[in-house]
């Protein structure tokens, strides 16, 4: 295999080699090579197939803007990533690299037929073709489009790598470490400011990596850059991040960085994250993002071997690689001359510089003459040939039809330079059009941010250094010279792009958008750049039109006969380049995806064989199956045992708020619909809380411990929002009240013991309290001692049985639970979970807020009108409850439903109708909110919201299901122990 490495050229060390495979073939690279430079060094230009037409494509650029050479890079079957830019990915020893979007081979690809069929695939093809028949969408069109869309294939195995996140702060964040960025960073650092300097490449230097013509401070640019880097790295107030992309610029100088930590390492240390997300808050941002060279838009400008002039120069000067042996140049800008000169001086045959300008810079022309390079000024390249690599370019004098075919194996092009204003634009800065130089530049800033250097249109090196130094806040006095002052550039289609509508002159390589597509879009009536973009998909690939946007805009403007600013520029959005999901997720995987909250009793529940369900972030015991029991059997047993003996339940997740202060009762009067000032210390009351609109927000039992101290309980899921709701009102509506709220949910482990034997179970463990019915009746609360620790004991019930809730400080919970269960087990009690809790409360018609109510249910709708005080002058929701719609008749009300077939358990959510034979759409009366099998009653029970429900008592309603219609009778909601005697023992 011939090496295209040039002896003495480039900065890589020849002795340090790395081996990798590309499409199964083994190649050798040097350490520091990108995949692109390594393949080019091995003479490989063909690296991929284009998205739509499957045209052979090579490497176009040497940077992040690469639209063509997108590859799949892998270490093993799990560590693989599609759509990796060959110009960005560094080679590592053992890399497995494959081309994409081709079958069966890269050199012979069946999909290439699309290129021949291309007249059928004009812009807007999909919109027009897949319109009808409508039925074909789901089964035919969408699967076909989905299969054809996208390039690489996402890995199927779980990602074995890990990713890190780091928040950071700095005085100055500098994006880009070229001449401008390095200068700004050094200038800022010398003032003592904390600085973060970021560059997406492996090495600092930016354009100095390829531009051999720049001298700064008397040193060649590259050497100067490394001198500055060494100084910066020695300063404690500076952090230099290479291989790191500033991908997002968010509000208030919040900057997202993606650092690629191990992607270049052959055998990364397992402790290292693959990538690290940096979330930086910077007092000031210096944007030194440089400029991106544009391609020329002409016929067949996409063959492998055709690339940006600066890229060829980078491959030569940095990587020591010749991109061809017979090289043509097609340019509208001076910079390509310097590329040609560098190549020629390295011994490469540069056959011709084709300059579409009539009068190029005289200094460049004479330098070309000295080097013996032919310059065809006022000429254009009008076509190219070569199947898998360019073999010739066809040139013609502008306006002439006389063609001359020149054999070449590489063609360098330059349409000039586009300032990289992406981050500035993301920061919501406003751009202005620089008509003279045909470019958009930063104008009005929205953030504490400054642009310097090429991204600000400051091209001359001396001015650039001065601007960057000033931006850093210091005063470096640097001198700089460049070999030539660059002029020129063009945007839009060049001579060779046709008016011919069959010519493929690519504007957007990644999405296969040609000049004729843009013209077609305008002809079809798209006049806004936003519409043209969507119709043609120009700039909508993952490169976001870094190369194509300006060309597309210029072609559209020309067709529309408008100035460019009138046609507008599409908005740049984050991320600047693609960011892996792993990086964005960082630590939030597996156990760290979301906190799993466990109660202090969790270990005991696990040991008792509980199955768990998620309730918010909590893990709650769902049921406790015994050997051979399914859920149904376990729940039936738990329900029976709880009513016949007793059941023990972990209620620790119940929300708890301590309301303390001289105005505590006054505050609760305002927050709940019922009255609290007449509640005596030592007593509890069930309370309903409504929102301002009068709908039920939460409910729970509140115990008064002292005149100025209440123990409020909320639903498990409602705990945080109820506290916020109360705190919100306290701070904004009732700030004069002397009362404070403290969440105590997690202070207490709560063990509910319910059932006829509940008292027998806990009595011996409780000290300092008479638990008799007389001394401690239903709805009492007391502070006492349980097993030697201070406890709060509630006599409350959510089952309709005698019930106690034992609150002990959380660390003692497991120990107390064990003692209670030991006694309970001996007496024949059981442990029960949330499912049994649901069934038992439904048997009693107790509602669950959020299940039986949905934010449109008033206390009266729920049958809890008694809980709304008629005497209070004010509470949250008092006005809402008086709204006409809330007091009208016919509202949906909670009622019980008994199916006429006892064994038929309704489906929660089932719709209810009065007449099952009514033609569709039927009149719906409401829906089933809760439905269970009740083992205690030997039949199914249900709760439902039914229009005018209480007026329908005893009537039959119907629940139409997919395969049958179920008849049910409307009843009240209390199914078990209607007299309610059991609760009092």
């Amino acid at each position: 295999m011939t090496s295209h490495r040039i002896k003495g050229a480039g900065r890589l060390t020849p002795a340090r080699k790395a081996r990798f495979t590309f499409d199964g073939k083994i190649y050798t690279a040097l350490e520091g090579d990108t995949v692109a430079s390594a393949l080019l060094a091995n003479g490989v230009h063909l690296m991929g197939r284009s998205f739509k037409y499957h045209r052979p494509r090579g490497i176009l650029s040497a940077g992040a803007e690469e639209p063509n050479a997108l590859l799949d890079v892998a270490r093993d079957s799990a560590r693989c990533q599609p759509n990796v830019r060959a110009s960005v990915q560094e080679v590592f020893d053992g890399a497995i690299i494959q081309s994409q979007n081709r079958w069966p081979f890269l050199s012979f690809d069946i999909g290439g037929i699309n290129n021949l069929l291309s007249p059928f695939f004009a812009a807007g093809f999909y919109y027009k073709t897949f319109m009808w028949p409508r039925e074909a969408w789901a089964k035919l069109y969408e699967p076909i489009i989905r299969r054809a869309a996208g390039l690489g294939v996402a890995p199927k195995e779980e990602d074995p790598d890990h990713y890190a996140n780091r928040f950071a702060h700095c005085d100055v964040l500098v994006a880009g470490a070229g001449a401008a960025g390095l200068t700004a960073a050094l200038s800022a650092a010398e003032t003592g400011a904390s600085v973060i300097l970021v560059d997406e490449r492996a090495e600092v230097g930016g354009a100095l990596l390829f531009d051999s013509g720049i001298v700064i401070d008397g040193k060649p640019g590259y050497d100067w850059a490394h001198g500055v880097l060494a100084r910066l790295k020695a300063m404690p107030n500076v952090r230099v991040l290479t291989r790191t992309t500033v991908f997002g610029y968010y509000n208030h100088n919040f900057i997202g960085l993606a650092e690629r930590v191990t992607d270049h390492l052959p055998r990364p240390n397992k402790s290292l994250p693959r990538e690290r997300l940096w979330q930086v808050r910077a007092k000031k941002v210096v944007l030194a993002t440089g400029a991106i060279e544009r391609h020329m838009v002409f016929a067949n400008n996409d063959r492998p071997g055709i690339m940006l002039a600066s890229a060829a120069r980078m491959y030569l000067n940095h990587y020591g690689v010749a991109v061809g042996s017979k090289v043509g140049v097609y340019t509208a800008h001076d910079s390509a001359y310097e590329a040609a000169f560098d190549l020629k001086r390295a011994g490469i045959d540069v056959v011709s510089i084709v300059d579409c300008r009539a009068k190029p810079n005289e200094a460049l022309l004479s330098a070309a003459r000295v080097l013996g390079i032919e310059v065809l000024s006022g000429y254009s390249v009008v076509n190219t040939s070569g199947r898998l690599r360019i073999s010739s370019m066809t040139v013609a004098r502008n306006g002439s039809t006389n063609h001359r075919k020149i054999p070449v194996d590489a063609l360098l092009m330059s349409g000039g330079w586009t300032p990289s204003v992406h981050l500035f634009s993301q920061s919501r800065g406003k751009l202005k059009f620089d008509a003279e130089n045909q470019r958009f530049l930063p104008n009005i800033y929205a953030e504490a941010c400054v642009s310097v250097g090429a991204c600000n249109g400051t091209d001359e090196i001396g001015a650039l250094l001065a601007e960057a130094s000033a931006a850093g806040g210091g005063a470096l006095n640097l001198s700089g010279e460049s070999a030539y002052a660059w002029t020129g550039g063009m945007i839009g289609a060049a001579e060779g792009a046709g008016p011919d509508t069959a010519v493929k002159a690519f504007v957007d390589f990644q999405h296969d958008v040609t000049a004729k597509d843009i013209r077609l879009a305008v002809r079809e009536g798209m006049h806004s750049i936003e519409h043209i973009k969507r119709f043609t998909t120009n700039g909508m690939a993952s490169d976001q039109g870094k190369l194509s946007n300006m060309h597309g805009l210029a072609i559209a403007a020309e067709m529309l006969g408008k100035d460019i600013p009138q046609v507008g520029l599409t908005t740049f959005r984050a991320p600047y380049t693609p960011v892996t999901y792993g990086t964005l997720i960082a630590h939030s995987r597996g156990d760290l995806f979301d906190p799993a909250r466990k109660t202090p009793l969790h270990g005991e529940l696990v040991a008792a064989g509980a199955e768990f369900e998620d309730v918010g972030n909590w893990k709650r015991a769902w049921y406790f199956p015994r050997r051979g029991e399914d859920m149904h059997a376990a729940v039936n047993r738990e329900c029976k045992t709880a009513r016949e003996v007793a059941g023990i339940f972990d209620a620790s997740t119940l929300g708890k708020i301590e309301v303390v202060g001289p105005d505590a009762a006054k505050f609760l009067n305002l927050m709940y619909t019922n009255a609290w000032d007449n509640l005596k210390p030592g007593k509890c009351r069930y309370g309903i809380m409504t929102r301002e609109d009068g709908f039920i927000y939460d409910d729970g039992v509140v115990g008064r411990l002292a005149e100025d101290r209440f123990h409020v309980t909320t639903t498990t899921g409602g705990a945080p929002r109820v506290l916020h709701h109360m705190e919100d009102y306290l701070q904004t509506e009732f700030p004069d009240l002397k009362v404070w709220l403290t969440s105590t949910t997690e202070q207490w482990a709560v063990i509910a013991v319910q059932g006829p034997k509940a008292r027998d179970i806990i009595e011996p463990l409780v000290e300092g309290l008479d638990l008799s019915n007389e001394a401690f009746p239903h709805m009492s609360v007391a502070e006492c001692t349980v097993m030697g620790v201070p406890a709060r004991l509630f006599r409350v019930s959510f089952t309709g049985e005698i019930g106690f809730e034992v609150n002990v400080p959380a660390d003692y919970g497991a120990s107390v639970w064990k003692a209670i269960w030991e006694r309970g087990e001996a007496l024949g009690a059981c442990l029960y979970g949330t499912e049994t809790m649901h069934v038992l409360r439904a048997e009693k018609g107790y509602i669950i807020v959020g299940q039986d109510t949905d934010g449109t249910v008033t206390p009266d709708d729920a049958g809890y009108g008694w809980a709304v005080s008629k005497k209070k002058m004010d509470f949250v929701g008092i006005r809402g409850l008086k709204r006409p719609d809330l007091i009208r008749s016919g509202r949906k009300q909670l009622v019980g439903l008994l199916t006429q077939d006892l064994t038929e358990v309704l489906e929660e959510g089932g719709q209810i109708v009065a007449d099952p034979n009514e033609p569709k759409p039927m009149t719906m009366l409401g829906h089933v909110t809760s439905a269970y099998w009740s083992e205690n009653l030997g039949r199914s029970i249900a709760i439902a919201l039914v229009a005018d429900g209480r007026a329908r008592m005893g009537k039959t309603v119907y629940i139409p299901m997919k395969d049958k219609t179920i008849a049910a009778t409307v009843t009240d909601m209390v199914f078990f122990d209607k007299e309610g005697g059991r609760i009092h023992g």
């Binding site: 466990k598 972030n617 202070q747």
Partner: protein, 181 residues
């Protein structure tokens, strides 16, 4: 006399960390959430035996007690000794709310040169000594949870969180510690 309950602390046996970040669960402590108006600060300070801080993000320590400013009328008072915080507050006679949260909260101690990096794996605060000197405290975020962070030394922190979030906090610290310098 019934048998006495025994105590089981959160994060029992949890371990992790690296040479540059040492992680360990803090011992049990007495804690109150103290709420009071401006007028009660001086009497409460006297009976608690420390001067309640009134500047945002500051704390004050005396003996075994530390008071952390969490808001204009809110402090977290931690006592690593004998306790008696509720009683001490009550003896002030001032209008206040003192609620025992000894078991609600638990704490993790983070020590070593990489401790601020490890915390910055999930905490968005500027933890430089300049912005967050020794004695600083803040109620803030750590990953997806709320925590109270106290800087106890140049290279040491105490992270307080609710007990059910402590496994998450310890797990995230353990992972972030691996990436700390």
């Amino acid at each position: 006399m019934a048998e006495l309950a025994t105590r089981a602390v959160p994060l029992a046996g949890a371990h992790g960390g690296t040479a540059s970040v040492r992680l360990k669960p803090a011992s049990s402590a007495h804690r109150i959430s103290l709420r009071a108006g401006e007028d009660a600060v001086s009497t409460l300070s006297t009976t608690l035996g420390l001067s309640l801080p009134t500047q945002p993000k500051t704390s004050a320590s005396s003996g075994s007690r530390t008071a952390l400013w969490l808001g204009p009328d809110e402090w977290l008072v931690i006592d690593e000794g004998e306790g008696g915080l509720v009683e001490a507050a009550r003896s002030s006679g001032a209008v206040h709310s003192a609620t025992d949260v000894s078991h609600r909260n638990t704490a993790i101690l983070i020590e070593g040169p990489g401790s601020s990096d490890a915390l910055n794996g999930g905490c968005p605060l500027d933890l430089s000594l300049k912005a967050f000197p020794v004695g600083s405290c803040a109620r803030t975020l750590f990953g997806k949870i709320e925590v109270v962070l106290l800087r106890t030394g140049e290279q040491s922190f105490r992270l307080e969180c609710w007990r059910s979030f402590s496994e998450y906090a310890f797990g995230l610290l353990r992972e972030a510690a691996l990436d700390a310098e």
